[in-house]
């Protein structure tokens, strides 16, 4: 037919091309690789990362695995014997460079006029008195007490520094295998950065294998329940599958590593990519019900002509919302924004070409919906109710929503940012448990290192380090400060008797300091010094260990350290893993705000462009603002923290939520243009387009629901929150916005738009 769409006339091409493209995009996935290293997520020029790199250039990378033993008393003979055997086995392995444990660290002390240098545990005591002697010895060793052994002697750490280039997986599995070889009654937890990276990679891979198929099954079910027709299920499903292939394949093609939030990309595609096809199917079923004599080609032509504008506009707004992620400081959200936007674009094009091309060649189905005056089914009744409430009691609706937003929004003041990377793991994981125990029994999991440069053996520099150690130890929440000064004090106590001038002091002469250090290399273990001072004694590091419950507590301690360091001329830089995590947290806040402002601003601008009215932008932004305020307020109330995953919320929620309002405006405008009054236009819109909006929203929510099965806590939380956001956007679109339109009757909806429904 000459009035057939171009797509219908050349349907074979529009069916074959997307399929071929999707298949080709699967090929780059062969060389895809998950990168769990959170340090790689940060930009290279980030100050805290640069400083950490400088510190590691001098002292090497310090990335140990922590093995934490917990029992009634870690000095029990059986426990010590178990630790000794493990210590021996780990020392003998080529995967581990250094073991730090009670059997390796030295106890340097003065005893009967002699300097005694022994391992902390020289021999395992079998008697109670022997055990108490050991306990007292540990208490007086500042390099062990509260650092390696907890204050109550119920917990003991063993640190295993890996050999260079040993993969995390190999290392962690080896350690767990060795632990199994030496069982005991003590609880043993394995944590540390290598373990965190391994677990992230393992869980992310598992999520990818499980969540994607699960999401597809849920989507199929939702589509079936909504449309009860083969083409209504298979066509949007096909578009989703092809969009996933394109978005995921684009990542290795553009040289992007799969980060832990790459798990979200297929879930986003499942949630978003069927949006456009759903509206076409809804329209097809509506026309099939209202005009049963129309042929399939006519229905397809009509559907596409009427819907292509709002579909393109909704896709555009979603793309703009998602591109808000480009303003994020972190690399993976930016990459996710690019590939998701590309996937949505592909889904849009395919929905407007592939679906009509296929539909035009297949027979019509039986009508499964009835479009009479009386509502049918639960959805019909619900939509009829929304029409009655929004047009009959608009002020009540606005009041209820205002109270809801005010109540939820009060939680905003309680919203905090996550500062521990381990919080992304489940509460039962070794990593989370270890974090809790270290905070409770070992003085905290946070550490900041301060680098001093100069002639480290000179009394002036060493006294500065000593002064820093003493002053930093006074800061609240600081549990431990370790530096070369600690070692010099220890040696001076063992070389001088109490009461002598040199006892427990930094010597006044450079020669004395040099000879103390020489003594340590002769009698102790020079490896102990390697983490405190470099080979030629020109750089030395002091490490501050502390607790930080939240972001502001962390900033307080950091500020105290910086203030002290600023008074010491030899101090060159302040660095540490904790500072990088703090920058990550700050980036999450900034990224959240910037992406939110970008997305919201862009949406308001787009709505203004589409409807030629600033009021359209403002009214259209109301559901988004309501859902975001309520969402973040809820997070504050229930104690959920902003993290790398939840910081993506605003861009995605904005991009998705605005679609419902656009469809609503478009249909109301059409009904008003055709002579209906406001009340009838709103009611009819809700019964017709409202169904499509609801199906759309529920299928998106169903798509995100798979995240509730993720092994990563942050992705689970993201799942709950995005569903909550979309539910609010839906309620706003179906109840609040119609109420506002009923009261306000904005003139932009009375104007004619280019395309007509």
């Amino acid at each position: 037919m000459k009035h057939d769409l171009f797509i219908v006339r050349h349907r074979k091409w529009f069916i074959a091309l997307p399929v071929v493209m999707a298949v080709l995009m699967l090929l780059p996935l062969m060389k895809a690789h998950i990168n769990p290293d959170l340090m790689d997520y940060l930009p290279e020029d980030m100050v805290s990362k640069v400083n950490l790199d400088r510190l590691e250039a001098v002292f090497g990378k310090y990335d140990p695995v922590l093995v934490l033993f917990s029992g009634e008393d870690v000095l029990r003979a059986g426990t010590l014997e178990r630790m000794r055997l493990l210590n021996q086995t780990f020392r003998q392995s080529d995967k581990i460079d250094q073991v730090i444990s009670l059997f390796e660290l030295k106890n340097i002390r003065s005893e009967a006029g002699s300097m005694v240098v022994d391992p902390v545990v020289q021999s395992i005591p079998n008697t109670v008195s022997g055990r108490e002697i050991l306990r007292q010895s540990v208490r007086t060793n500042p390099l062990v007490y509260k650092l390696l052994v907890s204050k109550d002697f119920k917990h003991c750490l063993m640190l295993l520094n890996p050999a260079p280039k040993v993969p995390d997986k190999e290392l962690v599995l080896f350690i767990r295998h060795v632990l199994k070889q030496y069982p005991g009654p003590e609880q043993v937890l394995v944590s540390g950065q290598p373990t965190l990276r391994y677990e992230i990679q393992r869980i992310a891979m598992r999520d990818l294998m499980i969540l994607m198929p699960l999401g597809l099954i849920i989507m199929l079910l939702t589509l079936f329940l909504s449309f009860r027709e083969q083409k209504g299920v298979l066509l949007p499903f096909s578009v989703v599958c092809m969009s996933i292939a394109v978005a995921m394949g684009l990542m290795p093609l553009l040289g992007f590593d799969f980060s832990l939030i790459a798990v979200l990309v297929p879930v986003l595609m499942i949630a978003i990519a069927n949006n456009y096809g759903v509206h076409l199917i809804t329209r097809y079923q509506e026309l099939n019900a209202v005009h049963p004599r129309w042929g399939m080609k006519r229905i397809v032509n009509e559907s596409v002509r009427k819907l292509y504008t709002p579909i393109i506009l909704t896709a555009l707004t979603t793309i703009v919302g998602v591109l808000g992620l480009l303003s994020h400081l972190l690399i993976p959200p930016r990459q996710m924004g690019i590939v998701t936007a590309a996937g949505i674009l592909f889904a849009l094009l395919t929905s407007l070409t592939f679906i009509p091309a296929v539909m035009s060649g297949v027979p019509k189905g039986q009508t499964s919906i009835h479009f009479g005056e009386k509502p049918t089914g639960w959805m019909g009744h619900f939509l009829a109710w929304t029409g009655r409430v929004s047009t009959g009691k608009p002020w009540m609706v606005i009041l209820v929503f205002t109270l809801l937003v005010a109540g939820a929004g009060a939680g905003l003041s309680k919203l905090q940012v996550a500062i521990n990377l381990e919080e992304m793991m489940p509460a039962s994981s070794d990593l989370r448990q270890t974090m809790g125990l270290l905070n409770d029994h070992f003085g905290g999991t946070k550490s900041i290192s301060v680098l001093f440069t100069g002639d480290i053996k000179s009394p002036r520099v060493l006294k500065e380090i000593d002064s820093f150690e003493k002053r930093a130890a006074q800061l609240p929440e600081v549990s431990n400060v370790t530096s070369l000064a600690t070692v010099i004090h220890t040696i001076s106590r063992s070389m001088n008797n109490p009461g002598m001038p040199g006892y427990d002091r930094i010597p006044e002469e450079r020669q004395a300091i040099a000879q103390y250090l020489e003594l340590y290399t002769m009698g102790g273990d020079p490896e102990d010094l390697e983490r405190l001072v470099d080979f030629d004694y020109t750089n030395s590091v002091a490490t501050v260990q502390f607790k930080a419950e939240n972001f502001s507590s962390f900033k307080q301690t950091e500020s105290g350290i910086r203030t002290i360091a600023a008074t010491l001329p030899s101090c060159r830089l302040i660095a540490g893993q904790s500072l990088v995590e703090e920058t990550l947290s700050a980036a999450i806040i900034k990224g959240q705000i910037s992406s939110l402002l970008f997305a919201l601003g862009s949406i308001i601008f787009l709505l203004w462009l589409i409807f030629r009215s600033f009021k359209a932008g403002l009214i259209g932004a109301i559901p988004l603002a309501v859902s975001l305020v309520a969402n973040f307020g809820l997070m504050g109330w229930i104690g959920l923290r902003l993290d790398i995953a939840t910081s993506l919320l605003s861009s995605i929620a904005i991009g998705l939520g605005v679609d419902y309002t656009i469809h609503l405006f478009w249909r109301i405008n059409h009904e008003l243009q055709h002579g209906k009054d406001w009340e009838d236009a709103i009611a009819y819109t809700l019964r017709s387009t409202g169904r499509g909006i609801a199906v759309n929203a529920f299928s998106v929510m169903a798509g995100f629901a798979v995240l509730l099965f993720s092994g990563l806590t942050i992705l689970k939380a993201f799942g709950y929150l995005i569903i909550f956001s979309l539910l609010l956007c839906l309620l706003c679109a179906l109840v609040l916005i119609p109420a506002i339109l009923q009261l306000n009757r904005p003139s932009f909806l009375l104007k004619s738009t280019k395309a007509q429904l």
Binding site: Q88, G113, S114, V116, M495, E509, E527, D536
Partner: protein, 253 residues
């Protein structure tokens, strides 16, 4: 990587057995040529005994009653920075007790620092240290033989006399080391306690077939994990028949 760079000069008086971690070679004449029936167990036992005899010979070929020497100890890190110590070493045996005095001669900030060590055959060593800055002497009690010698990759175990009976020996074949045809003698610690004390589980010595002098030793942790290698060169005859390696280098991973 850290290395002991060179021993620059030696002054020696008298003869005595010197305590070093060098394996000594003893020539054993083959007496089993006439044997016809070779049992595998008997063959390996013979090899083990031969290996031990080679080790004993290497042990015995260095025999100095007393010694006085000046040495330069150079320690290198992975970036090739070097820390140098000039030391003087005086050693003599008194009634079975080997007494050693080690004095740092340079650099100036540690010059005069002195260690006095009494090495007993049947009990832990006694050690004293003198620090010129304190003008006092302090006794040091340290039972850790595997700990580092003066911050280098040499351990105290490397520098003291091993007990041949602490190891099980095997002969692994021959290899050319710097133009010398050497036996490859494996020594495996007999117990965990010996391993712990020495810091290694297994040692592979390359011993010259002619002279019985060891030119190289590879040290391993369990599961054949290599940890370090000692290279010995520049053997010189001192005090008549005894030999002494004037260059020792230890390389770690």
């Amino acid at each position: 990587m850290k290395r002991l760079y060179s021993i620059t000069s030696i002054g020696i008086t008298g003869f005595c057995k010197i305590h070093r971690s060098l394996l000594c070679l003893k020539i054993r004449r083959n007496t089993w040529l006439a044997g016809i029936l070779l049992l595998l167990a008997g063959l390996s036992q013979a090899h083990a005994q031969q290996a031990k005899d080679i080790a004993r010979r290497s042990y015995d070929v260095i025999s100095l009653e007393s010694m006085e020497m000046k040495a330069t100890l150079s320690i290198y890190d992975s970036k090739n920075h070097v820390r140098t110590r000039n030391i003087s070493n005086v050693t003599k045996t008194f009634d079975g007790v080997i007494k050693t005095k080690l004095t740092c001669l340079a650099p100036p900030d540690v010059a005069g620092t002195t260690m006095l060590i009494f090495d007993y055959p049947d009990k832990d060593d006694d050690m004293w240290i003198y620090l010129p800055s304190l003008r006092s002497t302090r006794r040091i009690v340290s039972r850790e033989k595997k700990s580092s010698f003066m911050g280098s990759e040499f351990s105290h175990a490397d520098m003291s006399k091993p007990n041949l009976d602490d190891y099980t020996y095997s002969l692994l074949g021959s290899k050319d080391i710097d133009g010398k045809d050497c036996w490859m003698v494996e020594a495996v610690c007999k117990s965990g306690a010996v391993t712990e004390a020495n810091g290694f589980n297994r040692k592979l010595a390359y011993i010259d077939k002619k002279s019985g002098l060891a030119y190289r030793m590879d040290y391993y942790k369990a599961d054949h994990v290599w940890t370090k290698t000692m290279i010995l060169k520049d053997y010189r005859k001192v005090s008549g028949e005894s030999n002494f390696a004037c260059y020792m280098e230890m390389q770690n991973r």
